[in-house]
């Protein structure tokens, strides 16, 4: 009796899963775990778990234009991208509460593997007065519209220590 006429009745538990014989196509499982550090950006992610929205600011008065114009960076940057001096952390929770608006939005209905955001998800970009950048985040409890006033909410009970600990809800004007 010829060996390997592909009788599948004798599979061992660790056998390769074959998808096709011609051409020969097999499965190769992979499941690595990454050990990831937030390094100098740690204050931002720790801040979310404490109900705080932290940004950074260039304080080098000679820096053009970030330092001179007082650019605030959200997401925060450890070093100023214009002059490369270390930035300073500032708490913009109240500023966000008072002035944040939806800059643009999209409804995500087809996520990818490892997604933890409940689907459908209102993905938004957030404008805050005085902040030069427009952070990406999620809106909860409403369908987004460009210009909608919003305020931040934080996952302080069971933080994931990811950007998902930050979300936004409509603000009454």
């Amino acid at each position: 009796m010829p060996k390997h006429d592909f009788d599948f009745n004798n599979l061992r538990p660790d056998a390769t899963v074959v998808r096709s014989l011609e051409p020969l196509v097999i499965e190769k499982p992979r499941a690595p775990i990454h050990v990831h550090t937030y390094g100098g950006e740690t204050p931002f992610f720790r801040g979310l778990s404490q109900g705080k929205l932290l940004a950074t600011k260039c304080v080098n008065k000679k820096c053009v234009p970030a330092g001179k114009e007082g650019h605030i960076f959200l997401p925060p940057r450890v070093y100023c991208p214009d002059c490369m001096e270390k930035t300073e952390w500032i708490d913009i929770t109240e500023l966000a509460r008072r002035t944040a608006r939806v800059h643009t939005h999209i409804t995500v209905e087809h996520p990818g593997a490892f997604n933890r955001v409940p689907i459908p998800c209102e993905l938004i970009s957030v404008e805050i007065e005085g902040v030069s950048t427009i952070i990406m985040s999620q809106l909860k409890g409403a369908k987004a519209q460009i210009g909608m006033p919003i305020q931040p909410v934080f996952e302080t009970e069971h933080p994931t220590f990811t950007i998902l600990d930050l979300a936004w809800v409509p603000r009454k004007e």
Binding site: E41, I106, G112
Partner: protein, 487 residues
């Protein structure tokens, strides 16, 4: 940076002219289990070596000229193989020549040409291979979505859905609402782009798609991320594309019809979040136009609320064109070019690109389609006024079918575009697209109603290779040697 100093904006130079003498590619499919990437690479190389009328006696003689090699491949993790360039280089039998792997997301093909062409321009090599490929069919779509989403910022973006299309769609939405005003007319322009590019792919044996669609098909297709529907979004493909670049002396030794090639590059922040407001860098024809300058000044400020580049302009594309037009002496792209291949990852981003490269001023992109300029011939399909039907467009785009119709094997795309333009400039579109044998080679039948997509007397073409939300964009310009503007 948002303020420039003169060093940043210097016009790039080639120390000596660079020519493209040959191109080759595989067919492009969503899944290609019958062949490994290495086999497709050899097929692309064979086409390049044997079907471009090179004055050599076979592959082995041609290989004797190659000095270094440049390989573009976007996503190692899909193939579970690092140093894929080493594998390909080995299968082509080009070891131990120097080679390097290049990756810049969707701009990988263009970036590969950027490096490869400048290695000839510098004098380091007289003859180089530039090859790009992609294979994304080793994982299911769900995992594929995650992998691609890692091209966004892993801490501030990827976790938000693990789906890259979402991050792109945020930009598209803003453009759609602010410049498109969410109007049905704008939606219709988007649909026409998908219809046009699929129609071109219908006449391309290399293409992954082979059916024509209508604007109704596009507007009824399932929503991917509102307002983007299934037919608004590019393909995902397996395949390989390559070109051979040479110095002038060698180019004319190998070919009777080599073409000049110039490649430039721009970039922008990875996170769209980080794009701070700035002045619009002006292209030569915009600088020369007081109306456009006045119009751009009016775009700033409270009334429109719009910032530049914000979420609606791809600064990387604008910069690549800024350098390229000055490098090549292009005064007005619509007047000075004969055809373009643009990176139509989405119908909306195609429109945004028209503006970034100056085919129309910012905010007026749709007019490039609605005026008929983007068509080889304005079609009689009910979507154009009678007086435009049959008119020759001033600057046809994506005659290959582009990313919407032909392929997006990410590392290969920027090279595919240049291969198609090269064959157009040589007046050889028909050899590669309209002979039965090429269709049969790929197991297909040439359609009876195949269109002739050769641009008559094509002398200059431009390709835009673009990464994701615009972190990297390159601009490749090909010119017939007699059509290079005098300095």
């Amino acid at each position: 940076m948002i303020r420039f100093q003169p060093g940043n904006l210097a016009t790039p130079k080639q120390m000596r002219p660079v020519y493209i003498v040959a191109a080759g590619q595989s067919d492009f499919k969503k899944r290609y289990p019958e062949k490994k990437t290495e086999e497709l690479a050899v097929e692309a190389f064979r086409m390049m070596a044997l079907e471009n009328n090179l004055k050599v006696d076979g592959i082995q003689e041609l290989k004797g000229y190659i000095h270094s090699a440049y390989y573009g491949h976007f996503a190692d993790h899909f193939g579970d193989q690092l140093l894929g360039e080493a594998v390909i280089h080995d299968r082509l039998g080009l070891d131990p020549l120097g080679n390097v792997g290049i990756k810049t997301g969707g701009a990988t093909g263009g970036s590969t040409l950027w490096i490869a062409s400048n290695m000839v321009a510098s004098g380091y090599s007289n003859c180089v291979l530039a090859m790009g490929w992609e294979r994304m069919d080793e994982v299911d779509t769900w995992t594929g979505n995650h992998y691609i989403s890692t091209a966004a910022d892993k801490d501030f973006e990827t976790e938000l859905g693990h789906i890259y299309t979402g991050y792109y769609a945020l930009m598209a939405q803003r453009y759609w609402k602010v410049f498109g005003k969410g109007s049905p007319a704008f939606r219709r322009t988007m649909s026409k782009i998908a219809v046009k590019n699929r129609r071109h792919a219908y006449s391309n044996p290399f293409a992954q798609t082979h059916g024509k669609i209508t604007v109704e098909d596009v507007e009824k297709s399932p929503i991917v991320a509102d307002p983007l529907r299934f037919y608004d979004a590019c393909l995902m493909s397996v395949g390989v594309s390559c070109v051979l670049l040479c110095s002038e002396e060698l180019a004319y030794k190998l070919s009777d019809h080599p073409m000049r090639i110039f490649v430039t590059a721009g970039s922008h922040t990875l996170r769209t979040a980080d794009r701070r407001p700035m002045d619009i860098p002006l292209l030569p024809h915009e600088e020369a136009s007081p109306e456009i300058r006045k119009y751009y000044a009016s775009l700033k400020g409270a009334s429109s609320g719009e910032r530049y580049p914000g979420f609606t302009g791809f600064l990387a594309a604008r910069m690549a064109a800024y350098y390229a037009y000055r490098m090549c002496g292009i005064n007005d792209p619509v007047e000075d070019l004969d055809l373009v291949e643009l990176h139509d990852a989405f119908t909306i981003s195609d429109i945004q690109t028209y503006e970034d490269i100056g085919l129309r001023p910012y905010g007026q992109g749709p007019d490039y389609i609605e005026s008929g300029d983007a068509y080889l011939t304005v079609p009689d399909d009910g979507s154009f006024p009678k007086k435009l039907v049959g008119k020759r467009g001033r600057l046809p785009s994506n005659l290959s079918g582009g990313l919407l119709g032909c392929m997006h094997a990410v590392g290969a795309t920027g090279i595919m575009q240049v291969a198609e333009i090269f064959w157009q400039l040589q007046n050889r579109w028909k050899y590669f697209h309209a002979r039965k044998e090429m269709w049969e080679r790929f197991g297909k039948t040439m359609p009876k109603d195949i269109e002739n997509l050769q641009v008559p007397n094509a002398r200059r073409g431009l390709a835009i290779s673009h990464a994701g939300v615009g972190s990297h964009v390159t601009c490749s310009i090909l010119m017939h040697p007699d059509a290079v503007p005098a300095k």
